[in-house]
Amino acid sequence: MRETTRRQLTATAIVSAPLMWTLVFLFIPYLVMFTYSFYLKKFPTFVPAFEFVNYLTIISDPQYYQVLLRTAKIALTVAVCSFLIAYPLTYFLVFKVKSARLRSILYMAVIVPLWVSYLLRAYTWKTILGNEGILNSFLVWSGILSQPTDIFLYNQFSMVVTLTYIFVPFMVMPLYASLEKIPRSMIEASKDLGVGPLRTFWHVTLPLSMPGVIAGATFTICLTFGDFVAPFLVGGPNGAMIATIIQSQFGAALNWPLGAALSIIMLIIVLTIISVSDRLERAGRIDLN
């Protein structure tokens, strides 16, 4: 074999490896899933077919849009809560912490929990929010409550708290990047033109950090959409989310076709969110130079 051919082959191999990986582990499974979604459930398993029954079921049975709506509501709430927590924190890191060393230490402190097991972090909230948990113990001890309350755990509130806590780093990371990218001269220029700090934030800093806000919201919404651990660990009787239902179709109901159809719909929703956010980001993307 000649040297050039060999080199070309090597190059092709290097390029095609990730492509192959994507094909084999991403597209083919999606394709399989898509095919299954047209199959028919038939005891004991299911039979190949090309029918839209599963999609019709999802449209006609109110339980599915109820759960989708609930999932969307929780995802949005998580995104808003993450934003409200992450923005002041990140703003403080980027603009108020002068020492670069301290800043990177604090940033890491926010990000590092990502390396701790998701389950462990979710579990922590059980011990905080529970009937005999830290929060209730404190409230009873301090005399604010005479008896422990069960309003903190096993409901949508505890799911939002847990998911927000877990996904906040995904909001912080893009926000940090976009806030850091804002030239200080922009903010100085605003103040120079007679505009005070609050209105400078509102008119200059916030609009310029929108790409980070959008990216963070996309992360948190999409991650929440696919979550089934929080409903399982801290969700109450009204905690079922779309991923919980999909899991039950693949498991308990042994109805893979319906599960596949639900997955495809969820995939479409998530892809829609991503493409809308991409568009928003593009529209708002600003050449900072």
């Binding site: 109820q66 059980k126 069960d150 905690g239």
Partner: protein, 352 residues
């Protein structure tokens, strides 16, 4: 694929021949997909030493896990231990081989009710060897009730708001149906399912959490979150007793479901010898008492149980009480009604 199977089969045959040559030492392996307490070292270790069969166990969290694992492709597991309501689907889906009765000398000792169960008999052949059984009784915190509860109606008592838990399973429908008065719980019509759904939705504000795993229910009791729930009879109550949480199981007036687990041989297993060695061990003294001691479940083979249990244990596990066994509503396969049950249960969880 076909070739591979042939190779495996012939490999199995070679192993079988070797097994015969060294009768006492059927060197080989057996891969089982089962519940956590069913492959406990207390009886697995001696088995491995005696037979030379290496046991590799993978655990399931629910009966729903067997079918997807077997459907995902063969060659991984040799033996599975689903409950009696999940066996038929596996058999009809062609995942299971019938048992060779000539290699199960003590099969006849098992309770007749189990041996004749529809879920393990198919086309005149036996597809499963009963192993363990129990009930789905209810359980309550004795320190929280002045008068012990006796009826399922208490699960709809607003006074217990936030202290009730139910198993996150179609079993909730069985419970609601019995309360309504529909005792044909394994054969509910669409209307009866709707009625159960309405009853369960009515109960939702009172429910603290639907429990999904054995450990979760134990945690819920231990953390004081839940005072009353259904339970896997004998199992969680024992774990709670270890933590000094005062709980008591009871069979409600409306009756309780019963369950039974069997060993099923995965189609085309290359480890037949070890598989039969394992089943024979599991369904006789060693495995029966081993299982009962670890899990607190009753044994399917009363003859073996009698041999290895104390008089008290034998009584406590209702091994001598055929009436008790008969009073249980033994889980039945729901066949094509399963998806309706599951969807009904999902609809309950989806409702706001």
């Amino acid at each position: 694929m076909k070739n591979l199977r042939k190779v495996l089969q012939s490999a199995g045959a070679v192993l079988a021949v070797m097994g015969m040559a060294t009768a006492a030492q059927a060197a080989g392996e057996v891969n089982i997909l089962t519940w956590e307490g069913y492959a406990d070292d207390s009886f697995i270790k001696p088995f491995e030493e005696a037979t030379g069969c290496k046991v590799s166990a993978t655990y399931v969290g629910s009966n729903d896990d067997f079918a997807p694992k077997l459907a995902a492709g063969g060659g991984v597991y040799d033996l599975v231990s689903p409950s009696i309501d999940s066996t038929k689907a596996l058999i009809e889906a062609g995942f299971i081989d019938p048992a060779d009765m000539s290699r199960l000398p003590r099969y006849e000792e098992i309770y007749e009710k189990f041996r004749t169960a529809e879920g393990i008999n198919h086309d005149g052949k036996v597809y499963g060897v009963p192993f363990s059984w129990g009930s789905i009784p209810f359980m309550y915190r004795t320190d929280k009730f002045e008068t012990p509860p006796t009826s399922l109606n208490i699960l709809w008592d607003p006074a217990l708001e936030g202290k009730i838990s139910l198993w996150d399973d179609k079993s909730a429908i069985y419970v609601a149906s019995r309360v309504i008065g529909n005792h044909n719980i394994y054969d509910l019509s669409d209307e009866e399912l709707e009625a159960a759904k309405a009853k369960l939705i009515e109960q939702k504000p009172l429910v603290r959490k639907y429990w999904a795993t054995a450990g979760e229910l134990v945690d819920l009791y231990a953390a004081g979150e839940v005072w009353i729930s259904n339970t896997w009879g004998g199992y969680q109550s024992a774990l709670l007793a270890e933590q000094n949480i005062p709980v008591q199981e009871f069979i409600p007036e409306e009756g309780a479901e019963g369950w039974m687990d069997s060993w099923l041989i995965v189609k085309g297993t290359p480890n037949e010898d070890c598989v039969y060695e394992f089943i024979n061990m599991a369904t006789t003294e060693e495995g029966q008492c081993g299982m009962s001691n670890v899990n607190g479940y009753s044994s399917a083979n009363p003859v073996a149980a009698k041999n290895c249990m104390s008089e008290e244990q034998f009584k406590a596990l209702h091994q001598d009480d055929v009436d008790y066994l008969d009073s249980l509503l033994l889980w039945t396969n729901l066949r094509d009604r399963l998806e309706h049950y599951t969807n009904t249960w999902n609809a309950v969880k989806a409702a706001n």
